[in-house]
């Protein structure tokens, strides 16, 4: 991969939460204009990785560059400018609870553009239409279901037509129909607007069906990367275990802990 086509470049990333090394020398390239899926067991730090890319967390060492700009060396104002070019769908949706669905989607347009009101209205309605929630525009976020919340949040994160969009678990809590629509939408957005998409998901079949590249993160490192076909053929036991969802294998299902027999034997110490 040449640096020309790399949009996000992560080199030797080390990040700690307290004593725990979430990332330990992780390196990853995300190509421009493609859909890259990041998969991995729950709790490996996928959300953390997205926050690092967005500059909300600072790495211990290593570097993260987005479009050639080193994210964690930026000054605050430059960082905010860079973020205007990114959209991020939060795992929890994170809609503003004091304004309606419509206003939530209109929010980034109102702060960052000087568009007239009728134009904002057109854009908001189009984005809501794309996620199938045009009829829900007057509802408050507290009146939306979990899946609807996420779709509104998606509409909001694409409102400004960003160059990079990061989806944190877009499929969780979606029914099969909505899932299908979202899969379609993500790849359509990518093809028609040429944006770079980073898709974090546990849903292996959905992710592999739309992504151009995929990588699997486990234990702070990338354990497998490549096109979906390459990944399917990857001989690594760990990659295969994850793709096929087998409970036994080298990828731990458990959060790091002492062996259960020892733990149970030492009952009194909690």
């Amino acid at each position: 991969m040449t640096s020309e086509s790399t949009f996000i470049d992560i080199q030797n990333l080390v990040f700690l939460r307290g004593e725990r090394r979430i990332f330990d020398g992780l390196s990853l390239q995300i190509p421009r204009g493609k859909v890259t899926a990041i998969m991995g067991p729950s709790g490996t730090g996928k959300t953390t990785l997205l926050k690092l890319i967005g500059g909300q967390l600072r790495p211990e060492s290593g570097r993260i560059t987005v479009d050639g700009i080193c994210v964690h060396k930026l000054r605050r104002s430059a960082l905010y400018d860079l973020r205007k070019r990114m959209g991020m769908l939060f795992q929890s949706g994170a809609l503003f609870s004091d304004i309606s669905t419509y206003e939530n989607v209109a929010f980034p347009l109102r702060v960052h553009t000087k568009l007239p009101e009728d134009m904002i209205r057109d854009i908001v309605l189009m984005k809501l239409e794309a996620v199938g929630l045009r009829g829900a525009r007057d509802l408050m976020p507290s009146e939306l279901s979990g899946g609807m919340t996420r779709r509104v949040a998606l509409a909001r994160s694409i409102a400004l037509d960003p160059e990079l969009i990061m989806y944190d678990e877009p499929f969780t809590g979606q029914d099969p129909i909505a899932k299908g629509v979202l899969v379609e939408m993500i790849s359509k957005l990518n093809r028609s607007m040429g944006l770079t998409s980073v898709l974090v998901s546990h849903d292996v079949p959905e992710s592999l069906s739309i992504c151009d590249y995929a990588c699997i993160v486990s234990n702070g490192q990338v354990i497998g990367a490549g096109t979906p076909e390459e990944l399917q053929d990857n001989p690594s036991e760990r990659v295969q275990q994850f793709l096929q969802g087998k409970p036994d294998g080298p990828v731990p299902f458990h959060y790091p802990a002492e062996p259960i027999a020892e733990d149970l034997a030492g009952g009194a110490q909690r």
Partner: protein, 260 residues
């Protein structure tokens, strides 16, 4: 022994660190004034939430405190045969002390706790993070309007409190206990000095408004984003604000009226 020293050291360090963080926070939110076009509606909304919605409690408390002052004042002053001075006593007590102080305490309980809980919940539900990711500084958008709203409304609330209290004192003193109305007002006019009393009272309430709102928004912004974290931040807001108000009141009173 070493353990205890270490605990004290760590405690001191934590306090210093949190003071440092809150000062940095203060400076950043003070300079982060939004553009008037977007900022003004936000400010108005917050003045409504912080000020207008606190009006009821302020008016009712002011009325009762004024009435109690009237009663107690009358009892004490009749012993000296000088119940005409009741207007002066009620007004001075309210304008100099009770107006700013009680308003600030009520404000911390009513508006401060609400500010902390609201901001804490916005943090816990990642609304602040998502705002940052949209390239909008939450300090500018969320914190600054709330800060200024508290800062602006506190002196106004304190004045309303004093006015209602003086009226309550009159209800009791004049209408109930029969003090001559002319002397209630005349004594008040001749003894309450604008610069000395009213202005100092306003300065007090400005200081309290500043401190209470700063504590409230900082506690919300710095809260641990969980339910326990938010509840403890809310408690801290009320406790710290009340202590700060009472302590500062003593200092300010000493400087303003203590002839030192």
């Amino acid at each position: 022994m070493i353990d205890r020293l270490a605990t004290i050291g760590r405690g001191t360090f934590d306090i210093l660190a949190s003071l440092g963080r809150s000062s940095e926070f203060l400076v950043r939110s003070l300079i982060a004034v939004p553009r008037p076009a977007t900022g003004l509606p936000l400010l108005v909304k917050q003045i409504y939430a912080v000020g207008v919605l606190s009006l009821a409690i302020i008016v009712v408390s002011g009325l009762f405190i004024g009435m109690v002052l009237g009663l107690q004042g009358y009892n004490i002053l009749t012993d000296y045969g000088s119940e005409q001075a009741i207007g002066q006593m009620v007004a001075l007590t309210l304008v100099r002390e009770l107006g700013p102080v009680v308003t600030a305490l009520l404000f911390a309980g009513r508006a401060g706790s609400a500010l902390t809980a609201e901001i804490g919940l916005m943090k816990a539900t990642e609304q602040l993070s998502s705002m940052e990711m949209m390239g909008v500084d939450p300090l500018r958008r969320v914190i600054a309007p709330r800060f200024w709203a508290g800062f602006i409304t506190m002196p106004l609330l304190a004045m309303i409190f004093s006015v209602v209290g003086i009226w309550g004192g009159m209800l009791v003193g004049v209408d109930w206990l029969g003090v001559f109305e002319g002397s209630y007002w005349a004594n008040m006019q001749s003894s309450v000095d604008f610069g000395e009393d009213v202005l100092n009272g306003v300065i007090k309430s400005i200081v309290f408004g500043f401190v209470c709102t700063w504590i409230a928004v900082y506690q919300g912004y710095d809260s641990v984003p969980t339910s326990e974290g938010i509840s403890s931040a809310t408690t801290k807001t009320v406790v710290y604000s009340s202590l700060a108000v009472l302590g500062l009141d003593f200092i300010l009173t000493a400087v303003m009226f203590g002839d030192i």
